[in-house]
């Protein structure tokens, strides 16, 4: 308070940030690129978020910018599938999306943590409308095929019982003086009070069936009005079943910084962000260009390409500087004239496989029958989760949910299926949660990132060893070339990584270009 009174709100904010109270990601506003020499040219490779951000800021600073993009659209991995869209994957399988108007699935990025301040800054700047994305839903379900007879349980019940029994055990340990060594007498009292509140323990420090515990867990007969309004408490599961279930895994997952509230999504689909960026820079972008070589010498950069607008005719583009945002899964196969450290770094980062399944149903049975509004149900089956749409609640007619989202072994296996098999398998596994799947299903789409022809993978998969050996060389300017994208950040697989990487790359490139670094 003293700082606030003395120095005004800016100082307060700075002080808070320093104390770690208000820090988001490492974003400090739009880059300052003042003093650019007019006529200096920059070639940007890739029209994803990193590339378009670079083009936007560099042009604004006075640079002459051109962007080359392999796909026939801008946005990169930021994209959305709607009814009428077509998706052809490597191997030739083509899916025709049949979703009803207004429905969509985000095969790539789909949620934005509130602390991704770089991305949110540009969303605001470019007028991209955002709405809350529901990450945690206490009425959603948790499922382990080997627990509770394979029956999914409410997140709320698992959460309440897990904290209740854990608190009970801690309280008993305190009261039996089992924690004497680390816990002082003062701390004992605080700990006991905390455990009672956190775990909803009774006066004897037991977690038991009661109106009190049902106020978190929910009642068997809900609270009502009138003469018969009295509720009936619900019965906790046994401690053994709760601990053995492993379902507490999802409670801690939702506690991670990246999953905390408030989470956002663009209204109408994630590609509203890509489109927002494209609106600013699309006049600079040439689509359908396949880069085949990046060469450089002391005076500039020469990029060789095949122009798919002209039947694959070879061509060249020259510039003073180059910002390359091509994913390493692709760049590692392109001849790049750079020092040995950068070249080794480009080869050092494999790409994760990921699969997402979008399923359209004839009605929102999860809302209408089960009062699940947005949020995620988790399972130990390969589909790993079902995410309910965080938008257009209570509307009639068909709606699309995310019927599976996986990485690792499950993603490898699903990517190996035909698109139809992916959808069928997601329906089979998801029906564990919702028997309505069978009667309400309309159509679906299954996107395997390892088969996306333009990325051959989902996102960078850094090992500790590669990060140590190669990250610095990957991100440093090499002659007239700098790399950007989520792979050149510590926020891999998030759009924020692309934003922060690009801001860093163009800031350093600008300093080099004006002779200040």
């Amino acid at each position: 308070m003293r700082i606030g009174a003395a120095a005004g709100s800016v100082a307060v904010y700075q002080a808070m940030t320093r104390l770690g109270h208000a820090a988001g990601t490492d974003f400090r506003g739009s880059p300052d690129l003042s003093g650019a020499k007019k006529g200096t040219t920059v070639l940007v490779l890739g029209a994803g978020l990193a590339g378009m951000l670079a083009a936007y800021e560099l042009r604004k600073a006075g640079y002459s910018v051109r962007v080359l993009e392999y796909q026939n659209r801008s946005g990169g991995r930021n994209f959305t599938l709607r009814g009428g869209d077509t998706l052809t994957e490597l191997g030739g399988a083509t899916q025709h999306v049949k979703f009803a108007p207004g429905n969509y699935i985000n095969p790539g990025p789909w949620r934005i943590p509130y602390h991704h301040q770089g991305l949110l800054h540009y969303c605001k700047l470019f007028g991209v409308q955002l709405e809350p994305f529901i990450q945690v839903n206490h009425n959603a379900l948790l499922h382990n095929s080997d627990s509770f007879g394979g029956k999914p349980q409410r997140y709320r019940d698992i959460m309440t019982d897990f904290s209740g029994y854990t608190a009970e055990l801690v309280a008993k340990s305190v009261n039996q003086n089992k924690l004497d060594q680390p816990v002082t007498e003062d701390e004992k009292q605080d700990l006991l009070a905390a455990m009672r509140g956190w775990g909803l323990l009774d006066k004897n420090y037991n977690y038991v069936k009661s109106d009190f515990t049902s106020l978190r867990r929910g009642f068997d007969k809900p609270q009502g009005g009138g003469p018969d309004g009295a509720p009936t408490p619900s019965t906790p599961f046994s401690r053994h079943d709760i601990m053995k279930s492993g379902l507490w895994e999802w409670l801690s997952f939702n506690m991670t910084y990246d999953m905390q509230t408030t989470m956002f999504q663009p209204v109408g689909g994630m590609d509203m962000i890509g489109k927002g960026f494209a609106k600013q820079v699309n006049d600079l972008v040439t689509h359908n260009i396949k880069v085949t070589k990046i060469a450089q010498d002391g005076s500039g950069v020469t990029v060789s390409y095949l122009d798919n607008n002209k039947g694959g005719a070879p061509g060249e583009a020259k510039a003073d500087w180059c910002v390359c945002t091509i994913p390493l899964s692709i760049l590692s196969e392109i001849e790049v004239q750079a020092g040995a450290p950068m070249k080794a770094a480009i080869q050092a980062v494999p790409y994760a496989s990921s699969v997402k399944i979008g399923l359209e149903f004839k009605r929102r049975f999860w809302e209408q029958d089960e009062q699940i509004y947005g949020g995620i149900s988790f399972t130990n089956q390969p589909i790993s989760q079902i995410s309910y749409p965080s938008t257009r609640y209570f509307t009639e007619g068909p709606a699309v949910l995310l019927g599976g989202y996986m990485f690792g072994p499950a993603a490898y296996a699903f990517a190996g299926m035909t698109p139809e098999e992916r959808v069928q398998e997601a329906l089979k596994q998801g029906s564990v949660f919702h028997p309505q799947y069978g009667s309400e299903f309309s159509n679906g789409v299954g996107v395997a990132w390892s088969r996306m022809p333009w990325s051959l993978g989902c996102c960078s998969m850094w090992s500790e060893q590669a990060r140590k050996a190669h990250y610095k060389a990957l991100t440093e300017i090499d002659g007239r070339l700098v790399l950007a994208g989520e792979h050149a950040s510590y926020i891999g697989c998030w759009q924020e990584g692309a934003i922060l990487s690009s801001v860093s790359a163009i800031t350093r490139l600008h300093q080099r270009a004006i002779g200040a670094a």
Binding site: L90, G91, R111, N144, G246, L247, E249, S252, F253, T256, D258, K290, I326, L328, S329, I330, S332, E333, I334, Q347, P350, Y351, A352, S353, S354, F378, N380, P382, S384, Y405, M406, F407, G408, P409, A410, A411, Y412, A413, A415, G416, A448, S450, R451, M452, P453, S455, L456, G457, C458, C459, S460, M461, S463, E464, Q465, R467, G492, C493, W494, G497
Partner: protein
Amino acid sequence: MRRPSRTLLAFLLAGPAMLPGRAALADAAANIAGEATHSTDGAEIYRQVCQGCHMQNGKGGTGAGTIPALAGNPKLASASYPVFMVLNGRGGMPWFGTMLNDAQVASVVNYVRTHFGNHYTDSVKPEDVAQQRGPAPTMEK
């Protein structure tokens, strides 16, 4: 008895310092990895692990980059090459040395070298794979 996920089990075995399961694959929710196949049948391992990229027919594909064909690939002449690739990956291809054991690697390499038009007669044994193993990479937390 199956647990919620293999990764979870790995966390438990590695000790509480590794919980919760945050990782470099941020949005990936890296503890949602699913269970690795236990099969030692080469065809089944290929189906579960390899064909998501290399395709059912082993022909790979080309877009902005290329996923190499295994069909008719002369680099398979020496079994040690595919064993190395499966264990360590290369470029955009991930390492599978931490996901597949020696018997599984041998089995899938033998499968690939005798299918898709490949007719190599020598086979790899788990011991050969064990000999080729180097230090395994560690996924970032």
